[in-house]
């Protein structure tokens, strides 16, 4: 009887411990924030999608770690932590949602691909490059990813399951706009991965319902 009560107590206490609440703050664009939204979507985890007006940004700036967005507020056990830097946010959520590999080595490889994608974003998105320059960088990078997907053989960049690097890669193909098919047709493994990510129930629903923004 005592044992049953003890177990019941533990179950009740365990059940009432609150899970974390997440608030992602970013502008009303896809930009650097969208792949984090995709991570929440892929995990089917709710979050507050706080989109701010450029007009309100100057007031908000001082309360952010580095006066930049996106930021993620993590409310848990009556404490709040504010994280900046999109990849640091992604890594943290990936750890929580199971998108960060099965072991340290996989985690490091995923990190490596995530960093490479970050570099790709930094060097191309919103940059004033010639078509030739865009083409060179894009093809170079897609080739890396295609080769890796072929070598790894599972359909994902690392190990046997989806990681935040796969999600990041898929989301970034959106920036190709009308050239997306033109590029992805040359890289069938990347194309297949992109389709897989967009077909995940949570992501599919997110894409259907998210605000439409030019960028």
């Amino acid at each position: 009887m005592l044992k049953f009560t003890a177990i019941a107590f533990i179950l009740i206490v365990g059940y009432s411990c609150s899970e974390a609440d997440y608030k992602l703050t970013y502008f009303d664009i896809r930009g650097r924030g969208e792949f984090i939204r995709f991570i929440f979507a892929a995990a089917n985890h709710k979050f507050e999608d706080n989109r701010i007006n450029p007009a309100d940004w100057s007031n908000l700036k001082a309360s952010t770690p580095f006066q930049q967005l996106p930021t993620l507020e993590i409310h848990e056990d009556s404490e709040t932590v504010i994280l900046a830097q999109s990849k640091a946010i992604a890594r943290f959520l990936a750890d929580r949602f199971g998108f960060n590999g099965e072991n340290e080595i996989e985690r490091a490889l995923i990190d490596m691909y995530g960093c490479q994608l970050g570099d790709l974003f930094d060097s191309t998105v919103g940059k004033n490059l010639t078509n030739q320059q865009f083409d060179t960088i894009l093809n170079q990078n897609f080739k890396f990813f295609e080769d890796r997907l072929n070598k790894n053989g599972s359909g994902f960049l690392v190990g046997g399951k989806i990681s935040w690097a796969d999600i990041f890669l898929s989301q970034m193909t959106e920036f190709l706009d009308k050239y997306k098919n033109m590029y992805l047709d040359k890289y069938p493994q990347v194309k297949a991965l992109d389709e897989y990510v967009r077909d995940l129930p949570g992501v599919k629903e997110w894409i259907q319902n998210r605000p439409t923004t030019p960028f």
């Binding site: 932590v81 890594r91 340290e104 490091a108 490889l109 490596m112």
Partner: protein, 207 residues
């Protein structure tokens, strides 16, 4: 037994964070420095056609990691320099990525060939970009009980910022006048037992 071989040029640049991590941990590794002329051969072996990259051999299995900070994070976790607990590790990560942003700005300056543009970038770096980023690091370091970014002790970002400051050469003295906690960090890392020994014996390179 795991063995490590680091491939990078004979400079500090983006490879030194990794060398500092090995030094701080006492873990032996092969510090292979690529001659400029030999680069094409090694470029072909690297995951993204870039250096540094780290070859990790465990028995018969070899893995190659690139992206200096991904390597840094991996070794930091292995050697206990990643921060304590999920939330602290995420904060360490956050500062690490911010330091990367600053390093990338500095790299733009280093890579600019046009003298006029180079001057412009330098002015912007010195007057705006450096102070902007240092302000955040100063604020965090000033709160520290240990003089490192986090009270739990030395983490990879202390080494990362230390290296960046090293790349500035004598310019860092000007920075130190306004950012005392940053200077304190630089001195603390320099004095850290194993790092001090490494600094005394490492090859002298301009960058």
């Amino acid at each position: 037994m795991v063995t490590y071989k680091l491939y990078y040029f004979n400079m500090k640049g983006r490879g030194e964070l990794i060398r500092l991590l090995f030094a701080a941990s006492g873990q032996k590794y092969e510090d292979f420095r690529i001659e400029k002329n030999d680069w094409p051969e090694y470029k072909a072996k690297s995951p993204f056609g870039q250096a540094p990259y780290l070859e990790i051999t465990n028995g018969k299995k070899t893995m190659i990691l690139s992206q200096s900070v991904a390597i840094g994070r991996y070794l930091a976790r292995k050697f206990g320099f990643a921060g304590k607990g999920d939330e602290e590790q995420a904060m360490v990560d956050m500062y690490g990525d911010q330091i990367s942003d600053l390093l990338n700005e500095f790299a733009k300056f280093m890579m600019e060939q046009d003298e006029t543009k180079k001057q412009e970038i330098f002015q912007k770096l010195q007057n705006e970009i450096m102070p902007f980023h240092m302000k955040f690091f100063e604020a965090k370091l000033a709160q520290s009980k240990t003089g490192f970014f986090f009270d739990s002790g030395l983490t990879w970002i202390d080494l990362y910022l230390f290296n960046l400051l090293g790349l500035l050469g004598d310019q860092r003295n000007q920075l130190f006048e306004h950012f005392k906690a940053v200077k304190n960090l630089y001195d603390k890392v320099s004095e850290h037992g194993k790092i001090k020994a490494y600094l005394e014996t490492r090859p002298e390179t301009a960058m």
